[in-house]
Amino acid sequence: MKLFSSYIKEMKIAARGFYFYIEIIFAVILLVILLVAVKEESISKDAEYLYNDIPSEVMTYLIEKDINEGKARIVEPTEFEMKPVTFEITNQETGEVTLYEFEEEKIITVETVERLDPETGKLTRTAYITDNEEDMIRLSYLEGQIGATTTMSADGEFSYKYYLQGYETERLVDLLYILHNESGEVLTTAMDSQVVRTIGTEQLLNNRENLLPMFIVFTGSLMGFFIVMAYIFLDKGEGVIKAFAVTPSAVWKYLISKIGVIMTTTLISSLVITIPVMGTSINYLLFLVFLIVTTFASSSLGLLVASFFDDMVKAFGIMYGFMIALMIPAFSFYIPSFDPVWLRFFPTYPMLQGYKEILLSNGDTGYVLIYSLVFLVGGLVLFALANLKFKKTLTL
């Protein structure tokens, strides 16, 4: 009863202030960006890594043909420094998984061909042609771009193997075939002998869906962390915590009611973004569980940080530091080759990964559940610490 009336009061206050609307408006802006500015499909990958397992005369012939038609030009070879890396590749047709382990750093120089638009003469993509398949696969993984192997059978038919990052859509894959082949006839042949492989164990999410985890973590956890602090500082400024402290009601109820408000706004803003993009294709129960535990953990962190300061100005430095640190894992999420181990200890890392698993049609539910538990326990610990700290610092 006390808890509920505290929550209702907090909601009233929130609805009469502007932080509440900031969060919702922010979510709407992100949604508009997603729907308007981010195309669901995109072929804007500007590089590709090729390995051609065909006789060099044929190769030379093909490239020269393209050059004569104004479709390509040869430029200076490019040097790549390839870091040690381990990853898996799943064959989409057979489901077979191959593990690649490269322990040594390697520097290679590869032939570089620029593909041009024959009409305008503008550069469309750059192709890097390696002289063995392993280098091609490794580069493709490290650079986060498409890779392909071209082979020619004894009777002169080409076949292609594509190495994708996992987020290209099927239509993009279709378009690729067109890019690599001049006529529809060849395309069909190519389609028949096609084997598409995906680098990593990742399933397909389109560009828009792929941005969603970051946006949800942003509007949910990071905003929750920030706004709960703002609410606490508003109250500290007005001194109302002291008034609460001289009632028979426990401080944790006050804190929980704050989190309740954050939870409400986060639910609204996350669903505002998620429903229009994902429709009914995801498990919303799992989504809500994960959303609630991660928001609980991050707003508890906000409470704990806020308990150490008197006002927003004093807390600003540390708050800003936390926000930046929590955002770093987003880079790794979109740059597959940047994935240092230390990054996994940032709470936003499993958050991003967790949302991704939820969005994927056959995502790893176990991962989501395990991390839900981790966030729940972590959140409870942070909350308990914040509660202790608040009880101690209700000074005059």
Binding site: K9, K12, I13, R16, G17, G239, K242, V246, P248, L396
Partner: protein
Amino acid sequence: MISVKNLSHIYSNNDKLAINDISFEITKGETFGFLGPSGAGKSTTQGILTGLLKLQKGDVQVAGYDMNKVDNKRFNKIGVSFEQSNVYSKLTAKENLEFYSKLFDVPTRDPEELIKLVGLEGKENDRAGSFSKGMKHRLTFARSMINNPELWFLDEPTTGLDPTIAATIKNIINEQKAKGVTTFLTTHNMYIADELCDRVAFIIDGHIKLIDTPKNLKMQYGKKLVDIEYVDGNEVKKETLKLIDDKDKKRMYEIINNYTIQTMHSKEATLEEIFIQVTGRGLI
């Protein structure tokens, strides 16, 4: 109701003791005035008694609770009004009190009635943020009564209020007193203290200088004072002399013999004058 023994308190960011070894007792039904100039340690003492500040040193019992092992439930019978008003500016006066009343486990008073009582009638549905300082202060004061407290802490309840409203507040305190409420009252205002308090303590620089009833204090200190105004050359001068003090008596004869007297009144010393006599300092 309250027993304080050898209480001291120091703030972490301040190397001087805010409270230095004070002791006093307040019995049930008593109105106890804590008087002293700014920075004397009045609010600090109230902070410790209400549990908002952690007890560092000394024995403190409040409403039957040892302040070393406190229980939130005690606040069902305690009311606290703060020196700095602290209400939710985004909530209306009524919402502020309604919400607050829900935090108690005991029957509470009707918010509208309380709002009327402190003279804020017609402002029930205005947001506290739009209130003047004095209005917020009255709302904070009204809030402290919501749970019909047996023990009532009032930190400067009349500071910053105009005389009529201050008189209203004084009457409310008097009514509560008639109901048997024990009150710990902190103030600069000696008239309020004089009229309301059964006993007062003079506190200065963290020390209690004396504790007594206003009546005893007046009997003891400067019972017979004379205000005398006289003309010295072109100037009108004023002196206050004690009739029991030989030096002052001589001075009076001197004035009467040598100057033209304009006015001369005998009077009782005010609490304020006694405070100055006892502590050597003013109250502001």
